[in-house]
Amino acid sequence: MDRRRIKPVEALSLHVPEPLVRPGDKPDFSHVDIPEPGKARRPPENCTAMDIRDLARGVVRVLDGNRAVGEWAQDTDLDTCVKGLRAMIKVRAYDERMLLAQRQGKTSFYMQCKGEEAIAVGQRLALQPGDMCFPTYRQQGLLIAQDYPLLEMICQIFSNSHDTLRGRQLPVLYSSKEYGFFSLSGNLGTQFVQAVGWAMASAIEGNDRIASGWIGEGSTAESDFHSALVFASVYKPPVILNVVNNQWAISSFQGVSGGESITFAERAHGYGIPSLRVDGNDFLAVYAVSRWAEQRARANLGPTLIEWLTYRVGPHSTSDDPSQYRPKEESEAWPLGHPIERLKNYLIAQGRWSEEQHEQTVAELQQEVLDATRKAETYGTLDDGPMPSATDMFEGVYKEMPDHLKRQRQKLGV
């Protein structure tokens, strides 16, 4: 008896995901389904994952041209918007200056977050002091939104004598406990599960602090993404799990990471963790949904996973050349626009901002960045020094330097 109801194929074949377009082709985002702003409902904070499964396929959007619409529109006031806009402009100014500095040889490497500014900035404004973020290398906005001293950031980029990380780390791998910015490692995914552990600790201690983990859509493929979600799903600690889907992981489009089969918000459905998909270029949506997740966490309702839809406008890093693998004009075709433009237009329409104010702010913040850069240069640059000393390399491997390191330091004669 063969009750086979479907025919086997002659020869099996491997499915290998491929983006619709490559260099030379016309950009095409027609397959990206972008729902109307304002349509996504705002569920109660104590909803279950099952209750909001649909929100992982939709897109929470608030900005509709010049208006803020829908159930999520009430979460963000204009003051927060202005604060956010300023921070985003500053992030942009900072990125531009550091890219230039890298081209000028003042440092070895840089990574910008062009096009993704709203996400880190918006979320940080929704958090409280004492909360801890476990960022990737594209969340400089977490620091800048809190007015972290630019000078310190730049000294880290320059690995100079004033670098608080003492030259040990690759540029952009900042650390600031004080500002709730966990030391960046450079290994993908590892810190997502550490965020869960940190949040578990807060819950164990009976504290009220929450954690926020960050990961790129490409890195959700890493094993530690699973570790994070398993532990979050079991212990339900106060953590926000952010997936920044900027469509690309170096040269790999999001389909290589699984995006052909699911949205990255849907990954959470395998773990019973409530999740939403959000327009990451819409500051109001970012702030509102971050706030919602933050409130869930702080009310002991457990983890939330958020997929932020955005686009990596720039190259992956200063070592990358995206024209090798995607159409040059693709970022302009990205249907969700640019976060700074969109927020600016909204604020202007609300009468809280103007073109002049904008230009003036841009100029002012560029100047602030430039001043900080100049100041930083007086403490040295990577190519020119002064640099942290060789002794700095031996220190801090352990709290107290063990004998074998002392011997090695001696051998180097430093």
Binding site: M132, F134, T164, L165, R166, R168, Q169, L173, S175, S176, K177, F182, S183, S185, N187, T190, Q191, V193, Q194, A195, V196, G197, W198, A199, M200, A201, S202, A203, I204, E205, A211, S223, D224, H226, S227, A228, V230, F231, V234, G396, V397, Y398, K399, P402, D403, H404
Partner: protein, 343 residues
């Protein structure tokens, strides 16, 4: 002082640490209600509650990952890996994260955690319940790696590890849990009951990490050992009727190089033994250090007696294990070595 086997001593260490410091939390696979497959955490959940002693999902990377997050927060996590053979999925978190956190953040963050794991063979556990991967941790800057050889040290070193501000990899030679196994697998196991180091100090007992202990003293030769091999070495020395320094290293990183050099300069001969695979085992580092620091005092080549460069086999366990016969042969060989006998 109380008489304890090594399991009880380890449990007592965690109990003591948890009692005085609320930040200490203990978790791992099966460690909560059940108290661990080797029962090292038995009773702790009942005593300290489910938030401080709990079962984890079976995910070693996650166990270490959350431990790092907790340690960075300010807790003192003690994570159990059920067998050292299963630590590899968590190796990235240990190497790339725990070990480097303090350095890369210039002290802004640190990861004062302890990873406990039973290691070593001799229980017919085959290739996945017998391994001794200590060398893999000693190659990683930022980690401390320690291996006690008896109940008293087990307690004192575990307390020291928990109190240490750096990440500590703490190996438990499982063949020693119930007695000072000396490699004579065909003889009945003696228990800790009659062993002086089965006497474990009460309360807050601390054995500093980085200090070796001389378990026997003599001028003929120096034996560098740790864990189970301490007892094998003592048996070999006894059976040969020689006078040897048997140095129980206890802590591999930091290493008590001074004690090693002092002894080898005295004896001029050295045998190193461990259960791990030979090539690139910690014995290689010890051998390199000894010849670097004692070259002009050496009267014979240093020999290594170790597990072979094969997976740990099930049936051939006692051919794999570096037991007293193999050790004695090597000792004799080193004692007899003269330039004339060179190959």
């Amino acid at each position: 002082m109380a008489r304890m086997n090594m399991i009880e001593a380890i449990r007592d260490a965690m109990d003591t640490a948890m009692g005085v410091d609320k930040r200490v939390v203990v978790f791992g696979e099966d460690v909560g209600y059940y108290g661990g497959v080797f029962r090292c955490t038995q009773g702790l959940q009942k005593k300290y509650g489910k938030s401080r002693v709990f079962d984890t999902p079976i995910n070693e990377s996650g166990i270490i990952g959350v431990a790092i997050g907790m340690a960075a927060y300010g807790l003192r996590p003690v994570a159990e890996i059920q067998f050292a053979d299963y630590v590899y999925p968590g190796y990235d978190q240990i190497v790339s994260e725990a070990a480097r956190l303090r350095h890369r953040s210039a002290g802004d963050f640190s990861a004062p955690l302890v990873v406990r794991m039973p290691c070593g063979g001799g229980i017919h556990g085959g290739q996945t319940h017998s391994q001794s991967p200590e060398a893999l941790f000693t190659h990683v800057a930022g980690l401390k790696t320690v291996i006690p050889s008896n109940p008293s040290d087990a307690k004192g070193m575990l307390i020291a590890a928990i109190e240490d501000d750096d990440p500590v990899i703490y190996f438990e030679p499982k063949r020693l849990y119930n007695g000072p196994f000396d490699g004579h697998h065909d003889q009945p196991l003696t228990s800790w009951r009659n062993h002086p180091l089965g006497e474990v100090p009460d309360g807050h007992h601390r054995v500093a990490l980085g200090e070796a202990a001389l378990r026997s003293e003599g001028d003929d030769i120096t034996l560098l050992v740790y864990g189970t091999l301490v007892h094998v070495a003592l048996a070999a020395v006894r059976e040969l009727g020689i006078a040897a320094d048997v140095l129980d290293l206890r802590s591999l990183i930091p290493l008590d190089l001074e004690a090693i050099v002092r002894s080898v300069k005295k004896t001029g001969r050295c045998v190193i033994a461990h259960e791990a695979t030979l090539t690139s085992g910690f014995g290689a580092e010890l051998s390199a250090l000894v010849q670097e620091h004692c070259f002009w005092h050496l009267e014979a080549p240093i020999e290594r007696v170790t597990g072979w460069d094969t997976p740990y086999p099930h049936a051939q366990e006692w051919y794999y294990f570096p037991g007293p016969e193999r050790l004695k042969k090597a000792i004799r060989h080193v004692l007899d070595a003269t330039p004339a006998k060179q190959s």
